[in-house]
């Protein structure tokens, strides 16, 4: 039995596979309700299945021990997984949201660095412009994700950043 929590959704859920009926048919249980599930195809990248007579297609994206990003029928979702034991440890460690204490400011888009508005050691407030990127003929600003002091500026003017690249640390 594993406990699941979906980002932006209040409730948490217990879930497990109850029975393998053969011929790719399964019974799974979510909280107290059983559901019929038929797997059409499955790989480590994704799954197609029929749940309660409805077809669904999921892609498995990034995954850490306790968190999984999937796209289900075109809808992106983040799901946290805990065995009941994990959950207690996890709660006690102060975990919950992801990245609130992270220092790295990452670019959400790929692009060419047009200008950098800060220098090493600058104090910034959340929302201050750190740099400006150009992508698809548009200029887009990257803003500080928290208050702090700018360290380790990784982006270089006229350089290229990929999605997820670190622009700078804010400590």
């Amino acid at each position: 039995m594993t406990n699941y929590k979906i980002q932006d959704i209040e409730k948490s859920f217990d879930g497990k596979v109850v029975e393998n009926l053969g011929n790719n048919d399964y019974v799974i249980k979510i909280n107290d309700t059983e559901h019929k599930l038929k797997i059409i195809s499955m790989s480590s990248n994704g799954i197609e299945f029929i749940l309660n007579q409805q077809y669904h297609k999921a892609k498995y994206l990034e995954q850490s021990t306790n968190e999984m990003n999937i796209v289900i029928d075109n809808v992106p979702m983040t799901i946290n997984l805990h065995t009941h034991f994990d959950k207690i440890v996890y709660k006690n460690s102060g975990g919950g949201g992801s990245g609130t204490t992270q220092k790295a400011l990452k670019s959400q888009i790929p692009g060419k660095v047009v200008s950098i508005s800060v220098t090493h050691g600058d104090s910034v407030r959340k929302g201050d412009v750190v740099c400006t990127l150009e992508s698809m003929k548009m200029q887009v600003t990257v803003k500080a994700h928290k208050d702090g002091v700018v360290r380790n500026i990784k982006a270089k003017e006229t350089g290229i950043v990929a999605k997820g690249d670190i622009i700078a640390d804010i400590e």
């Binding site: 790719n24 399964y26 979702m77």
Partner: protein
């Protein structure tokens, strides 16, 4: 006669042009940058030539390189598509000099259309109404006040050195005008060291309505109905439709006549678009001519039955337009959604990268022009338009519900798209009722509504998401426990 067309463009519009050429037995020459070697237009053209690096300046905007390919490939003509060199009169002139047919207006006419001041003057002469205001720069505050009183408040004071909302002031009376004049002058001098101010009537809740027109080398001209393109973000069109819900037969014919006059006034040849602002009081004001084929041309094709690229080729061949204004009958209703690679919630910031999987919608009266295919890549070097999804219906409601259904069928893995926003817009009562304006998104809080819709969608998908994750985690748990056994045994090992 055109026999071999070089298409100086990429993406879906290059494919669009290739399709008509293929059907007509005309050869096509594609050009591509390093970034585009794997693109559909390279695969579908008769020939394909590499023209340089990914950056547009080094490839699709490189006039000399493109000219080289025209000459070495033996192309007799060039189709510029939209964007890139399509409205560059130097390029049109370069083609003219080299005896290559430029499929579009003459360089001179294009130059005139591109110069807003000169074009406005030509329109005034042709009695095509433009937004009321100063004919050029105002001399001083007195001059501005005089004009404001002539055209009536509210008016807009605009510094020609402004842009992006800076150096603009909306004023509603003489007092505000004098204050505004000073502060706009101040801002402008502070920013760029000089000031130059225009006065223009301020229009609220405007609609963007444009007319497709065609004019041949003999001077015959027709309009091919209007398109309403009011739904925009950052002045970029998102959704277009024809007919406009507020244009009736009489208006269509009346404004259409002024469009024909406008085309004569700039001695236009080939297909063009005359853009208007339509004020809330019903007046139409000419803004500019787009001297090229528009992104949104398919909705006009649906209601007119015409192949507009074919019509471009015919006119470029020097043939007369093969029909008269009265032969054109508007048939049904069409809508286009521009499927962009962008993140609505990040202020429409671009989203790029590999697209491992795509499902393209299809079905009766659905058309999708796209460069996407499973395994393609959305490049950060070019614009964000991945696909144009177009539907037609006998009624507006039929085209709207078909569009909603097609949007639901459209699956693009790997990048953020504008599809969810369009579903919210097309489901809204305001859209259904035709209550459109260029500030539609802000006026009706569409981004907030989208967020709510997505929350509901997430809730609806909860069980399916959990099922996918439960199966996944049990599968991998079992694989870890049985690393030596065959994967498919997994099914039998679940507890």
């Amino acid at each position: 006669m055109i026999e071999k067309v070089l298409i100086a463009n990429r993406g879906e519009i290059a494919l669009r042009v290739i399709r008509t050429c293929k059907a007509l037995g005309i050869k096509t020459v594609a050009v591509y940058s390093d970034e585009d070697i794997n693109s559909m237009h390279v695969k579908q053209a008769t020939e394909a030539y590499h023209i340089g690096e990914a950056s547009p300046a080094k490839s699709y905007l490189n006039q000399e390189k493109i000219l080289d390919v025209m000459l070495s490939s033996g192309a007799d003509s060039v189709h510029p598509g939209y964007g890139f060199l399509s409205e560059n009169d130097d390029f049109a002139r370069l083609c003219e000099k080299n005896k290559i047919i430029f499929i579009g207006p003459s360089a001179d006419s294009m130059n005139l259309c591109g110069d807003k001041m000169k074009c406005k003057a030509a329109m005034l002469k042709a009695e095509v109404p433009t937004v009321p205001g100063s004919p050029g720069l105002v001399k001083d505050a007195d001059d501005a006040e005089k004009i404001a009183n002539d055209i009536g408040y509210p008016v807009m004071l605009k510094s020609v050195f402004g842009g992006g909302g800076r150096g603009i002031r909306i004023v509603t009376n003489d007092k505000e005008l004098r204050d505004g004049y000073e502060s706009v002058t101040g801002e402008s001098i502070a920013a760029v060291g000089k000031s130059a101010i225009l006065v223009e009537k301020f229009l609220e809740k405007t609609r963007h309505i444009e007319y497709q027109f065609a004019r041949d080398t003999q001077g015959n001209a027709v309009h091919i109905f209007e398109r309403e393109c009011s739904i925009q973000r950052r002045n970029q069109k998102l959704i277009e439709q024809t007919p406009s819900p507020i244009v009736d037969e009489e208006t269509r014919a009346r404004v259409g006549e002024s469009v024909v006059n406008a085309s004569h006034a700039v001695d236009y040849t080939n297909l063009g678009t005359a853009e208007f602002l339509r004020a809330d009081n019903g007046e139409f004001y000419f803004i500019e001519i787009n001297a090229r084929l528009q992104v949104e041309h398919p909705i006009t094709e649906f209601v007119s039955g015409l192949d507009l690229v074919k019509l471009q080729l015919d006119i470029a061949n020097g043939e007369p337009i093969p029909f008269k204004q009265n032969d054109l009958k508007m048939n049904g209703y069409a809508i286009e959604c521009r499927i962009n690679a962008e993140d609505t919630f990040m202020d429409f910031a671009p989203s790029t990268g590999p697209v491992p999987d795509v499902t393209i919608p299809a079905g009766p009266s659905v058309r999708c022009d796209t460069y996407l295919y499973p395994g393609c890549t959305v490049s950060p070097y070019y614009d964000s338009l991945m696909a144009k999804l177009v539907t037609w219906g006998q009624t507006f409601e039929e085209s709207r519900t078909r569009m909603l259904s097609a949007l639901n069928d459209f699956y693009i893995q790997g990048v953020e798209t504008s599809i969810p926003l369009y579903k919210t817009i097309l489901s809204s009562d305001e859209y259904k009722n035709g209550d459109l304006s260029t500030d539609f998104l802000k006026r009706y809080d569409m981004i907030d509504r989208l967020a709510k819709d997505l929350k509901i969608e997430k809730e609806n998908k909860t069980e399916a998401a959990l099922a996918a994750v439960i199966i996944h985690s049990e599968y991998f748990k079992s694989r870890l426990q049985n690393t030596t056994s065959h994967n498919s045994h997994w099914k039998d090992k679940l507890d």
